[in-house]
């Protein structure tokens, strides 16, 4: 199973459990055998439900510790950190920790049958109440305040599915640090100071190029400098092909599977 699948499955399970517990269904569960056939097929490999006692804690910790700007808006506009580029691996390893903890727990998890009872025993209604509308237990079908609910769930989704501003910056730095040394822009050309090109890059999860870099847009090209404009685009393409495979954090693959590079040599002239 891919890491992404595992993360989604884990997130989904957390959620299902959360719902089940908070909506009072947990009361019905002890009488019921948690037989595997209830579990949707995509969760099958996780099978043994993670130790419920620890469920809420790692999930909450996995949420971004530094709230930062609103998570879902304008990711690319997040201001870049002033500090020099951190080594690619270090900060991400830190971020990975909670997930590793989960994975560890999964491996150590007791047989599935014991899980529900443990979950019930360790469940902290007070904490959950803060997250979920109190009216919900009485309305077993549909939560009313979906926005608050969504927010709580968003926070509960493990790292990797979403991305913090710091991770964006780190990822950008990692890409930049690897592409720039491979790029031979045609400096000294008469029009170099005004020319830029944007390419769309598609990568496989191993960092290799999944498709030839795709031309998106170009500035500074005119009827008089077509040869130069063409050569300029080719240097950018070549830089990507030459640098591949890129070494980027695997847990953020969803974010670098496809991205755009804006080649702008103005600072070089």
């Amino acid at each position: 199973m891919t890491e992404r699948g595992a993360l989604l499955a884990a997130g989904g399970l957390h959620l299902a459990l959360l719902l089940a517990l908070s909506l009072g269904i947990s009361r019905a569960l002890p009488n019921r055998d948690m037989s595997p056939d209830v579990t949707p097929i995509e969760y099958l490999e996780i099978g043994p439900v993670p130790t419920a006692t620890k469920l809420p804690q790692p999930s909450m910790e996995a949420a971004p510790r530094d709230p930062g700007p609103p998570p879902s808006s304008d990711l690319p506009d997040v201001p870049m950190p002033q500090a020099p580029a951190p080594p690619v691996v270090a900060p991400l390893a830190d971020d990975k920790a909670p997930q590793d903890a989960i994975a560890e727990d999964v491996r150590k998890a007791p047989p599935p049958r014991s899980a529900p009872s443990q979950a019930r025993n360790s469940f902290d209604p007070g904490a959950m109440a803060a997250l979920i509308d109190k009216a919900i237990p009485d309305a077993p079908v549909r939560p009313r305040d979906t926005s608050a609910f969504a927010k709580s769930i968003e926070q509960a989704i493990p790292k990797g599915a979403r991305i913090s501003p710091r991770q964006v910056a780190t990822l950008e730095q990692a890409i930049r640090a690897q592409i720039a040394p491979c790029w031979n822009p045609p400096i000294g050309g008469a029009d170099v100071s005004e020319m830029t090109v944007v390419l769309k890059i598609r990568l496989n999860s191993d960092g290799t190029v999944a498709a030839p870099p795709e031309f998106v847009s170009q500035t500074g090209a005119s009827a008089g400098n077509q040869a130069y404009a063409r050569a300029f685009v080719e240097t950018a393409r070549r830089a990507v092909l030459r640098c591949a495979p890129l070494d980027l954090p695997a847990d953020l693959y969803t974010h670098w599977r496809e991205f755009e590079l804006n080649f702008d040599p103005r600072q070089m002239t």
């Binding site: 989904g12 998570p71 968003e154 790029w183 830089a239 092909l241 030459r242 040599p265 070089m268």
Partner: protein
């Protein structure tokens, strides 16, 4: 219970996908490397090696690749990889290169081709350029030359490669005219000499009987203008390289000097002295009529047309010291463009039009500099004791000039616009006052 749970899971499903609204990652690459691009130039193969007056075709294949390598390396933009880094290609590899070997050698591009002898005694030299990573053919050209002209095919191939990869026109298939100097300081012999831009095919144009100075190429014809002291009367002459024919310019009864052609070759600008001051004249080559453009009580000299022929840059001491001025082609609208410390002289307008090269003189030091036609963006390109007399390569990217060492030796050097690629141009004797000619046809 089962359906209820399923319903809940279904309800929850949208939230699981609650990743941040996928604003796509966009990364700015604002710097690249200025390291020269690695490029593979293996020996050009030949079908069956045939003896020609210039050597065997196999030998020519090696030499053609050698010239292309030297040209590309000399530009400062490429780092040719030696033949040892990969297996020598055969004829079949020219159109189906084994890219893997060149990728392994870290080459980004591949120049290959072939040399074959034709039954009529000519040579065909093929020239191919490939992108090693995308495995695309970027360019192909073929040249049929006499055995004596094989070097030009190598230069033309170099130009095609350079032009395709940089998007600028090339400058390798061109010549340089300069003043070759020999003899003791008191009895210096100065002769006009011409050579390929890489120093090959060197020959003298004048015998050295009379002093010559300031040779300048016509951008469109086989004509050079220069200043000669023949008959003890310094004046501008025209010299046809093809025929050897020479002719004095104009009927000025005084000294004329610093001739320079317009980009269409029809007009020759020069300085003419009258009663102690020098003014700029435009001489129509076809009608042999001249028009006076400046009339100040100062020394106006070193005129140079903009490539569109609409403006002229020149030097003048009208403000007290030697500085650069720009005026319209009819002599109106004069504006000073050089300021700052020291003096500025011998301006030349770039064939690209965007810059003017000149000699910046500060505290006894002569250095090559460039400035925009509006007077902004002045930049020093060299830092030596005496660098002077700049002349542009046909593509406006490289400047040739002469350097005088403290021991009195003078050499030709070139510098590119980045100021980092300072190279010696080999000459058999001391050399000064170079002028770069146009691309040959």
């Amino acid at each position: 219970m089962k359906p209820k749970l399923m319903a809940l899971l279904l309800l929850a499903a949208p939230f699981i996908g609650l990743q941040p609204a996928a604003a796509q990652l966009r990364v700015d690459i604002t710097r690249g490397t200025e390291a020269p691009m690695p490029i593979a130039v293996p020996s050009f193969p030949t079908g069956a090696s045939v003896a020609t007056p210039a050597g065997t075709t196999a030998d020519l294949g090696r030499q053609v690749a050698g010239i292309i390598s030297a040209n590309l390396q000399g530009s400062g933009l490429f780092r040719p990889l030696g033949a040892g880094a990969f297996p020598a290609p055969g004829m079949a590899d020219v159109q189906q290169p084994q890219f893997g070997a060149f990728r392994t050698a870290a080459a980004q591009a591949l120049v290959t081709g072939f040399v074959t002898a034709n039954p009529n005694g000519t040579l065909t030299i093929g020239c191919y350029l490939y992108d090693v990573f995308s495995e695309e053919e970027l360019m192909r050209q073929g040249f049929t030359v006499t055995p004596a002209g094989w070097r030009r095919a190598a230069h033309k191939c170099s130009d095609a490669v350079y032009s395709r990869l940089t998007g600028e026109s090339g400058y390798f298939d061109s010549r340089i005219v300069y003043v070759a100097e020999s003899g003791p300081r008191t009895q210096r012999v100065k002769r006009l000499a011409i050579m390929d831009q890489d120093g090959a095919n060197h020959r003298f144009l004048t015998s050295g009987q009379s002093l010559v100075l300031m040779p300048r190429f016509s951008p469109v014809s086989e004509t050079i203008s220069y200043m000669s002291f023949a008959n003890d009367r310094p004046r501008v002459w025209l010299y046809n390289i093809g025929t050897g024919q020479q002719e004095a310019v104009g009927t000025f009864d005084s000294m004329s000097f610093a001739g320079r052609f317009s980009s269409d070759g029809r007009t020759l600008l020069m300085s003419v002295t009258r009663s102690g001051n020098a003014d700029i004249y435009a001489y129509d080559v076809a009608s042999r009529r001249s028009t006076r453009l400046t009339s100040s009580n100062s020394i106006d000299t070193s005129p140079s047309f903009s490539p569109d022929g609409k403006r002229i840059v020149f030097e003048s001491d009208r403000g007290g010291a030697q500085q650069l001025y720009v005026m319209n082609a009819d002599g109106t609208g004069t504006q000073r463009i050089s300021f700052g410390e020291g003096r500025a002289g011998s301006p030349v307008w770039s064939p690209r039009g965007d810059l003017i090269a000149f000699t910046r003189i500060v505290g006894g030091k002569f250095r090559i500099a460039v400035i925009r036609p509006d007077g902004s963006g002045e930049r020093l390109l060299t830092d030596s004791w005496q660098d002077e007399g700049p002349s542009w390569s046909p593509n406006g990217r490289v400047i040739i000039f002469s350097r005088t060492e403290r021991n009195g030796r003078t050499t030709l050097r070139s510098i590119d616009l980045t100021g980092r690629n300072d190279r010696r141009i080999p000459t058999p004797l001391d050399a000064s006052d170079p002028a770069w000619g146009p691309l040959l046809r």
